[in-house]
């Protein structure tokens, strides 16, 4: 598997120089029906870090992730790549952050797999040849080469999941935010995903219920429960703390 | 957790007497776009068996399961509880087979959790009191009591998954068909699900990528790949066969 090469000049120069790539201060969020999903979240992530986000169902993991490229807007400060998250900066921030939703049906909206994976590169203004080569590359990375002409919404769940990941990889983002990427993948694909994530050089925040994967991949882990961050630290320490895990719906592997 | 008691006279008498509860002969199926998803599947399941259905993404597991209560219709013979699967028998067969879809969003269509879990019993023509007690019972089994009035649509993925299972348990089916029930569940909920499945007395066919769960729960395993059954036998034997597993996108745990 060839590592992704970032040849495009899309990076705002500031990003490479500075270390803090995501900075969240006192973020709170309630859904329109009044349900409070995030309470006073503060968090800072450095360039190149790989972090697992774990916690029980309903903890607020997906909600938090949806804030990272402005899909949800709570109260509090968010800075991505030194840019405050606001309307003007959104387009740039979105080219920095590649977000893969938990439900692949939310991610895929084009008729064919090719068009879905090509959508990002096309809209970034790349020329046709580059677009095609990026699509091939992304599909190869998720082991779905040859699916170009299949209809995205007529795939099995696991296949959709992989295409969803490819739609983001084809854009060469600086920060990857993946919401439960391994759910629904067969064991070999899960292994492939783990290898892929190990190889990719970018900053990563990945939510998962797969604590074995968390241990294998991510040096840092953040535990959420009931809309709050209840622990944040080294994976090796936190995921051995049975009392802590037990308290938050998790289990030691 | 109290075991489910089958007090209603719902069983067609034949079912209890006979041993073969699902009988599939030479089933084939192609999707309307021409994609062949099942080829010549033959399979027979006895009352009370608990079977895991495993295989790589796109193997045809979900497609097969959708045949078991007549949502998809392929070529070949299917008998459920001695009744041939045809239009007249469908309503009864649906009361025998409880099917939980892979994606919980596919399962839930009512505004509130209560209405969703009550739909099956209501449609079966049970009276109000019985319906209410069944809903309570089913919610308790999946550890979601008290969620009656929440909007199903506004739950986290894992919460939806549990409700999806409850919508079927409330119908007291004889046969449970679950498509990847543990995907997206947090570790504690996954443990709870395993305990629940251990306790329930009915026949079960469960597709999963979680081979550890398969080993723990199911004495028999069926391996599918490319629309065919490639192995069918004792879990203890098959899931130790590294060559076989490796060949079909699986991994020895």
């Amino acid at each position: 598997m060839p590592p992704i090469v970032h040849k495009s000049p899309t990076t705002p120069p500031s990003l490479a120089e500075n270390k803090t790539v995501i900075d969240i201060n006192n973020l709170g969020f309630s859904y329109p029906d009044g349900h409070i999903a995030l309470k006073d979240i503060s968090l800072s992530i450095q360039t190149g870090e790989k972090i697992a986000l774990v916690g029980p169902n309903g903890a607020g993991k997906s909600t938090l992730m949806l804030h990272l490229n402005g899909i949800l807007k709570g109260n509090g400060d968010l800075e991505i790549g030194l840019l405050p998250l606001n309307k003007e900066n959104l387009p740039v921030i979105r080219s920095l952050v590649g977000l893969v939703f938990q439900n692949p049906d939310d991610q895929l909206f084009s008729p064919t797999v090719f068009e879905d994976v090509a959508f990002g590169p096309l809209h970034m203004g790349l020329d046709e040849k580059e677009v095609i080569s990026r699509v091939e590359e992304a599909l190869a990375l998720v082991d779905m080469s040859g699916f170009n002409d299949r209809l995205s919404h007529h795939l099995s769940t696991g296949q959709k999941k992989r295409i969803a990941i490819a739609t983001v990889l084809s854009m060469h983002p600086q920060i990857l935010v993946l919401d439960e990427p391994s759910a629904g993948l067969d064991p070999r694909a899960r292994r492939g995903l783990i290898n892929l994530l190990l190889e990719l050089p970018m900053t990563m925040l990945v939510s998962t219920h797969d604590l074995r994967m968390a241990k294998e991949l991510f040096p840092r882990v953040i535990i959420m429960d009931e809309g709050q961050i209840v622990a944040d630290g080294e994976t090796a320490t936190l995921l051995e703390d049975e009392v802590l895990l037990e308290k938050h719906g998790l289990e030691k592997e | 957790m109290p075991p489910i008691v089958h007090k209603s006279p719902t069983t067609p008498p034949s079912l209890a007497e006979n041993k073969t509860v699902i009988d599939i002969n030479n089933l084939g199926f192609s999707y309307p776009d021409g994609h062949i998803a099942l080829k010549d599947i033959s399979l027979s399941i006895q009352t009370g068996e608990k079977i895991a259905l495993v295989g790589p993404n796109g193997a045809g597991k979900s497609t097969l399961m959708l045949h078991l209560n007549g949502i998809l219709k392929g070529n070949g013979d299917l008998e459920i509880g001695l009744l041939p699967l045809n239009k007249e028998n469908l309503p009864v067969i649906r009361s025998l087979v409880g099917l939980v879809f892979q994606n919980p969003d596919d399962q839930l269509f009512s505004p509130t959790v209560f209405e969703d879990v009550a739909f099956g019993p209501l449609h079966m023509g049970l009276d109000e009191k019985e319906v209410i007690s069944r809903v309570e019972e089913a919610l308790a089994l999946v550890d979601m009591s008290g969620f009656n009035d929440r909007l199903s649509h506004h739950l986290s993925t894992g919460q939806k998954k549990r409700i999806a299972i409850a919508t079927v348990l409330s119908m007291h089916p004889q046969i449970l068909v679950l498509d990847e029930p543990s995907a997206g569940l947090d570790p504690r909920a996954r443990r709870g699900l395993i305990n629940l499945l251990l306790e329930l007395p009915m026949t079960m066919l469960v597709s999963t990528h979680d081979l550890r769960m398969a080993k723990e729960l199911f004495p028999r395993v069926i391996i599918m790949d490319e629309g065919q059954i490639v192995a069918d036998g004792e879990t203890a034997t098959l899931l130790e066969d590294e060559v076989l597993l490796e060949k079909h996108g699986l991994e020895k745990e």
């Binding site: 029906d33 | 505004p111 909007l151 506004h154």
Partner: protein
């Protein structure tokens, strides 16, 4: 594959040219106002309208079994107008009907103006107008008004469709009108039930979207008059026309409308010739010239394609 009440999707061929063109003219006039009005709104409104169009398109597939293999469906004009406002609702319905005609041949192209008018514009106007009466009132009243609007919208569609068929000389008014109104009085009940429960659902889950001040639906109180006028038109004309179609026929005859409509469809071209040509002899000459031109163009293409074939070889 029928998504909505089939009898309102008129295919090509069933309306005369003149009726088709007049319907198009009315539709275009209304739509151009709708476009102007909605363009002023927030830019995010456009994708929202697109998605709501897809929603209506898909929602028309949802059915419920009634009896004997028949089932109830949604048409959706009223729902769209209540959720998005009358102008946006009209555009949404136009997109839906347009795509159904173009892509699924569910309704013709030349008659599309009539289909949009019957199923999209009238329904949205009635629905929103009646619903607007309930502004600031109790939820149950709003739901009731929406339900009434839903039923009337289907009846309005049936009424105008029958009239157009009759004016085109395709159907006899004394039979088609009572038949259409009768069938749609029942279909309208399905529309009402689905519209009301869908709205009730939205009131329970996202009341903010139905808030007249904050939600996406915008429209002034003037719509109440529009809604009332169309409702009256339906409520008065339907029984009148059903019981005494001859009367209507006479009125139309007096207005000279009927003669036009029922005449051979070629009547927009006077004297059965192309207007810029004179008598029969000219027609023959013209036909000759046209024939020659056709041959010339064909020869051009043949030579062209031979050339490209050679190039590729």
């Amino acid at each position: 594959m029928h998504f909505s009440p089939i009898l309102l999707h008129i295919p090509d061929g069933f309306l005369s040219t003149i009726v088709s063109l007049i319907s198009w003219a009315i539709t275009i006039a209304i739509l151009s106002v709708a476009v102007k009005r909605t363009e002023k709104l927030d830019e995010k409104q456009v994708p929202l309208m697109g998605i709501m169009a897809a929603f209506i398109f898909a929602a028309q597939m949802i059915n419920f079994p009634v009896a004997g293999g028949t089932s109830g469906h949604l048409l959706g004009g009223v729902l769209a107008a209540i959720l998005l406002g009358p102008w946006a609702g009209m555009l949404v319905m136009t997109a839906v009907i347009g795509v159904q005609g173009l892509l699924l041949q569910d309704g013709g192209l030349l008659v599309m103006g009539a289909n949009i008018l019957n199923m999209g514009l009238l329904t949205a106007a009635i629905g929103f107008g009646l619903y607007k009466v309930g502004d600031g009132r109790k939820r149950t009243l709003k739901l009731g008004l929406a339900g009434l609007g839903a039923w009337l919208s289907v009846m309005a569609g049936a009424l105008t469709t029958s009239l157009q068929l009759w004016l085109s000389g395709t159907a006899r008014l004394d039979i088609v009108l009572p038949a259409m109104l009768g069938v749609h009085a029942v279909i309208g009940i399905g529309e009402t039930l689905i519209t009301v429960s869908a709205l009730a659902f939205i009131f329970r889950t996202r009341p903010d979207l139905l808030d007249p001040a904050e939600g996406p639906a915008r429209g002034g109180r003037g719509w109440i008059f529009v809604g009332a006028a169309i409702s009256l038109f339906v409520l008065i004309l339907s029984p009148l026309a059903s019981s005494n179609p001859d009367g209507l026929e006479r009125v139309a005859g007096d207005l000279g409308f009927l003669a036009q409509g029922k005449d051979a469809p070629f009547s927009i071209l006077p004297d059965y010739t192309l207007p810029f040509l004179g008598e029969g002899a000219f027609s023959t000459i013209a036909a000759g010239i046209i024939g020659a031109l056709v041959v010339a163009i064909l020869v051009f293409f043949i030579i062209q394609s031979l050339r490209t074939a050679k190039k590729n070889a």
